[in-house]
């Protein structure tokens, strides 16, 4: 490969890097602006990402949903519609292997986030939400975990996460204990 050819490729490569990183930011901003806000009940604990820092791992209750089509172990991407329940919290609707056309309120579920629930008569498919991390400043993460654990012991208080959802993408806005933002409580 001649040197001159490589020298022409280098600017393209740099643009490629910048485009990929900017696309990550753009997708977040777009979903945040256009998406509808949903509340998801959750529990949390505090591990570490080697590059992005400390975060709260979000645990949701056992998620199981009926499927329109039969599911096998070797699946492609699946889509689950999200509905607002009577109590104001989000509930999974129907799972499908096709992208829903009549609503924008759905999530993309990757194959490693799906698994069959054997032994159940109604063909329930278990899955995980594609959002399970809430990044926090390093020194606040242990305090946040303590606050959340105390709140979870009080049955009158709900711990929940606010998520914007738009056409398969999800953006976490904030975590709440009751009606108070976790970030606001940490600042106090």
């Amino acid at each position: 490969m001649k040197n001159t050819f490589l020298k022409y490729l280098l600017p393209l490569f740099i643009i490629f890097q910048l485009v990929i990183v900017t696309q990550m930011v753009w997708q977040h901003a777009f979903t945040s602006q256009k998406g509808k806000e949903f509340r998801f009940r959750c529990a949390m604990y505090d591990p570490v990402h080697p590059f992005a820092g400390r975060y709260m791992r979000l645990n949701f209750n056992d998620l199981c949903v009926r499927s329109e089509q039969p599911f096998t172990e070797d699946n492609d991407m699946a889509y689950v519609t999200i509905l607002k329940g009577d109590d104001g919290f989000a509930e999974p609707g129907m799972l499908s292997t096709r992208r829903p056309e009549n609503t924008a309120d759905y999530l993309e579920i990757a194959p490693d986030q799906q698994f069959m629930s054997y032994g159940r008569r109604d063909s329930c498919v278990r899955f995980r939400y594609p959002f399970d991390k809430f990044y926090l400043p390093e020194e606040d993460a242990p305090r946040a975990e303590k606050m959340v654990n105390e709140a979870l012991r009080d049955t009158s208080v709900q711990v929940w996460v606010s998520v914007s959802i738009y056409r398969g993408n999800a953006v976490i806005r904030d975590v709440f204990i009751g009606e108070r933002s976790l970030n606001a409580m940490l600042d106090d």
């Binding site: 280098l10 740099i14 890097q17 992005a52 400390r54 991390k133 990044y135 400043p137």
Partner: protein, 425 residues
């Protein structure tokens, strides 16, 4: 450089070469070498870049809260932009500077990871460590081709191996993305060697790192048929040994040492492991054709390895493979046979190891090669020692065995040295 000058002076004194030839040899070696003063500079520049970039990554992981999202976004781009500026300067302005090339490439490689980390935490971007590593790999692996940086090459081997191991630990199976990443590093190495670039320093490292990476990755490609992985490993080690002996791509000298060492040690390790009854019992219980039929990646890997093995064995046409290269069919058959009769399979495996030891000893005598002779004796000794753990032998028998082996070492070496002295006379 001092060594070659000393050797050339000695040859000239002995009348083997004349003054003109001596001068030409010294001039050629001088031309090939990097000026020795630059080598420490290059190494320290690379280390400095790596440490600065890692420092930035760690500071990023602090997760600063007092800045607005847009400020954090602007700062997030800085490490990568700085790295890109340095690479542009290295490629366009300081084209002949190895220090610039290596340091800037290492810096950009690591700062790209720092930027991705900062963007992820600022925007609460979801995903696993494997998706993070995959994106990082896609963004940095072309760097080694564009900058011809050996540091970027070594870092690419590291990140692709890390990615493969992480996918296995998180999902129980390897990912095919490792394949193209690994292929890119091999392509770079072959490109640099064929282009006669100075690969002495990094060639030796690559000769070890690439086989180690393959060894780590191969096990992840057999998620449902783990017992069949041992046949895959044996095929891989045989391939490495054959590549070591092939004359192709032999420059720079010594870079293929890693292939030979890992291939040879890997083969011996598997043979000795398979000589134990308890191990063959486990293989007998788990080596099922149905497991292999259910595991597509295992079938593809095993087939690819066997095809490559057969190709290397008989290419170029007319070449006669050495006995050490044709062990794979026997090993595979013995493992499969263990499912029918484990005791017989164990006997066969031990006989195979014994034959290998005898071949090394006989070849050592024939070629008058002390290294081969002693290798054969070591294999034989290890075989006897390991059998102590299998069979209940009395101390007296063990003592006599060690005496015979020890005496054998002395006698065999003495005979060979005497034979070599006679030849010299």
């Amino acid at each position: 450089m001092r060594n070659i000058e000393k050797d050339v002076a000695e040859w000239q004194n002995e009348g083997i070469i004349d003054q003109q030839t001596a001068a030409a040899i010294v001039a050629y070696e001088k031309h090939k070498q990097i000026p020795s003063g630059n080598t420490p500079l290059v190494i320290f520049a690379i280390l400095g870049s790596i440490l600065v970039a890692l420092g930035i990554s760690l500071m990023v992981a602090e997760n600063w809260d007092f800045m607005s999202v847009w400020t954090k976004t602007a700062i997030a781009y800085c490490p990568m932009l700085l790295g890109q500026i340095l690479v542009i300067l290295a490629v366009y302005k300081h084209k002949n500077s190895i220090v610039w090339r290596e340091a800037s490439a290492a810096f950009l490689f690591l700062c790209t990871g720092a930027t991705l980390g900062l963007i992820s935490q600022t925007y609460q971007l979801q995903g696993t460590i494997t998706s993070f590593l995959l994106l990082w790999m896609i963004l940095v692996i072309p760097l080694m081709f564009l900058t011809r940086s050996n540091t970027a090459f070594l870092l690419s081997i590291a990140i692709s191996t890390w990615y493969c191991a992480t996918t296995y630990w998180t999902s129980g199976a390897g990912e095919w993305h490792y394949g193209w990443a690994f292929g890119a590093t091999v392509l770079y190495l072959v490109w640099q060697i064929l282009g006669k670039k100075d690969m002495r320093a990094v060639g030796m490292a690559a000769g070890f790192l690439l086989p180690i990476s393959m060894t780590i990755a191969l096990g992840t490609m057999f998620p449902e048929a783990e017992s069949w992985a041992f046949i895959g490993y044996f095929a891989l080690f045989q391939i490495l040994l054959i590549l070591f002996h092939k004359p192709a791509l032999s420059e720079p000298r010594g870079w293929k040492a890693g292939l030979g060492v890992i291939g040879f040690c890997g083969i011996l390790f598997l043979l000795f492991l398979s000589s134990f009854h308890w191990w063959l019992n486990q293989i007998a219980e788990n080596l099922k054709w149905s497991d292999l039929a259910d595991d597509t990646s295992a079938i593809i890997m095993l087939s690819a390895l066997c095809i490559l093995y057969v190709f290397l064995l008989f290419y170029p046409p007319g070449s006669r493979p050495k006995p050490a290269f044709v062990l794979l069919p026997f090993y595979g058959l013995i493992l499969i046979l263990s499912g029918i009769n484990t005791n017989f399979a164990q006997i066969l495996m031990n006989v195979l190891i014994l034959l290998i030891a005898i071949w090394f000893i006989a070849d050592g005598f024939r070629e008058k090669n002390l290294l081969w002779l002693n290798t054969g004796l070591m294999i034989f000794s290890l075989l006897v020692i390991l059998r102590f753990f299998d069979f209940q032998l009395s101390f007296f028998v063990r003592g006599i065995s060690f005496l015979i082996i020890g005496a054998g070492f002395f006698v065999a070496n003495r005979l060979l040295i005497s034979a070599r002295k006679e030849d010299e006379k």
